[in-house]
Amino acid sequence: MASTSRKDGLTLPRVTCPNHPEAILVEDYRAGDMICPECGLVVGDRVIDVGSEWRTFSNEKALKDPSRVGDAQNPLLNGGDLTTMISKGTGAASFDEFGNSKYQNRRTMSSSDRAMLNAFKEISTMADRINLPRNIIDRTNNLFKQVYEQKSLKGRANDAIASACLYIACRQEGVPRTFKEICAVSRISKKEIGRCFKLILKALETSVDLITTGDFMSRFCSNLGLPKQVQMAATFIARKAVELDLVPGRSPISVAAAAIYMASQASAEKKTQKEIGDIAGVADISSLTHQSTSCPSCEEKLPKVVFFCCT
C-alpha cells in the first residue's frame, strides 16, 4: 500500500497510491485514513489526529475517561502548547491541614504567550459582539501574532492593537467595519485605534483598500429594516454622488448615511435623521443632504431614484 523510496536514504517515506502516484491524498479525520481521490483506495491508516480530544461514550459511568489526550492544538498561533496544568483536586487527599488545596498554583502556561492568549480571547469576545465570522477572527489572530512577534508596537495596550487588528482584518476580507463600530465593542478610543492602525500598517508593511460607500449599504439598511429597493436606491445615490463629486472631502460613511436618508425619504419607509445617524455613527446628515441636492445634476439622479423606488 505505501511505497517508500529509499534510494539515497534522505528522502522521507511518502505515502502515495500505487495506481495514482501523482494524486494528492485526501485525509479523512474521522477514521484517520489517507484516501486517494482518484480510485478511493485507503492508502495510509492510523494517522495521528491533532484535533480535539477523543472521548469514549460507551458506558454511562464514564467518570474516568482514560483516552483523554488534551485540548485541540492551535499550531498556527501558539508555540506548541505542551505544558501541563494542575487542576483543582476533588478528593479529600488534595487538601492539606488548613483546608487549602495542595498544589495551589496551576502551573502558568508559557507566560510568554499568556498575553497573546489573552488578546485572542479579547478578540474573540469583540468579534462575537458584532457577529463576525470565523475567518475574520482567524485573520485577526494571525495579524496580532505577527505584530506581537515583531515587538515594534510593544508599548501599546494589547487591547488597542487587538482592536486595530480586528479593523484591518475586516477591511482585508472586503467587509470593512467603521472605526466607530469597532469602538463600540472595544474599550479603546477611536483615536487610539486609529493610531495603532497606522502603526500596524507601517510595521507589517501592508496597505489596505480604500473604503467605498457600497461596503456599508447592506449593513446599515438591514439594521434600519429598509427594503431591498430602498437599499438599491441608496447605493445608486451614493455611487452617483461620489462619481459626480457632489460631496468632495467627505467621509464615505457620511455620504452613505445621507444617501440612505434621501432614499428612505423618497420611499414609503421614512427614517428620521436621528435613526440613521445612530446606526451609521454620523452626526449631521442634514447639511450633507442639502449640499448634495443643491446642484443641477441631482435633477437627473432623482428621477432614476424614483424609478427605483416604484419598481
Binding site: P248, P252, S294
Partner: protein, 194 residues
C-alpha cells in the same frame, strides 16, 4: 519660494519651530515674577514668554533649554531667539546663546486645481495614506526629505519639514503627482458649500 513651474505657487511659511540652549540654569520663579509677558506653568515645569516682535512664543525650562514657536521665517526665528536670550540676560542670568537649531517648518500651499484624493492614493499606494474616517486629507510622507505633506481635496497642502529648503523641494516633488489627479473645473454655481 516658488516651485519652478509656469505659474509660481506661493508657499507661505506659517510656523517655524527652533530650539536653543542658554548654557546656564534658569530660575523659573524669578523669570515668572520679574519678566514681562510671561505665563508660569508649574505643573509642566516651564515658563511661556511671548514676544511682540517678532511674534514668538517661547517655552523656557529651568535646564536652560528653550523652544521658540510662531516665527514666520528662519531668520525671524533666530532674531526672536536672540532677543529672548537678551531678555533673560537683562533679568540677571548668565546667558550664552548656543546650539540654535530650526527643528520644524510648517508651510501651506494652494494648488490652482482641486484634487481627486482617491485617484491620488491609488497611484501612490504605499507612500500616500488616506483614511477618510480619521482625517479628510491624504498624508504623503517623503522619507528622504523627512517631510510630510497633507493634501486636501480643495487643493490646499500643508507641508511640514525640517527646514525651508526641504519644504520647497517637497512641494516641487508633489506637484506633478497632484497635477495628474486633478479634478476638472466644475461650474461654479453647481458646487456651493452652505
Amino acid at each position: 519660494m516658488d516651485s519652478g513651474n509656469d505659474e509660481a505657487l506661493d508657499i507661505i511659511i506659517t510656523n517655524v519651530v527652533a530650539t536653543f540652549r542658554t548654557r546656564c540654569h534658569l530660575n523659573l520663579r524669578t523669570i515668572a515674577l520679574e519678566g514681562i509677558n510671561v505665563i508660569y506653568k508649574p505643573e509642566d515645569g516651564k515658563v511661556l514668554m511671548k514676544l511682540r516682535k517678532p511674534k514668538i512664543t517661547a517655552s523656557i525650562w529651568s535646564s536652560g533649554k528653550i523652544i521658540c514657536t510662531g516665527a514666520t521665517s528662519e531668520d525671524q526665528a533666530k532674531v526672536g531667539a536672540r532677543r529672548l536670550a537678551r531678555c533673560l540676560q537683562k533679568l540677571g542670568f548668565k546667558v550664552r546663546f548656543s546650539a540654535f537649531k530650526v527643528v520644524n517648518v510648517l508651510a501651506v500651499c494652494s494648488m490652482p486645481f482641486a484634487i481627486h484624493l482617491i485617484d491620488f492614493t491609488k497611484n501612490n499606494r504605499p507612500i500616500a495614506s488616506y483614511e477618510p474616517e480619521l482625517h479628510p486629507a491624504v498624508t504623503y510622507r517623503i522619507k528622504h526629505l523627512r517631510a510630510t505633506c497633507q493634501i486636501f481635496s480643495t487643493g490646499s497642502l500643508t507641508i511640514t519639514g525640517p527646514n525651508v529648503q526641504n519644504v520647497a523641494t517637497a512641494v516641487e516633488q508633489v506637484y506633478p503627482l497632484l497635477y495628474e489627479c486633478q479634478k476638472p473645473l466644475r461650474k461654479a454655481e453647481g458646487v456651493s458649500r452652505e
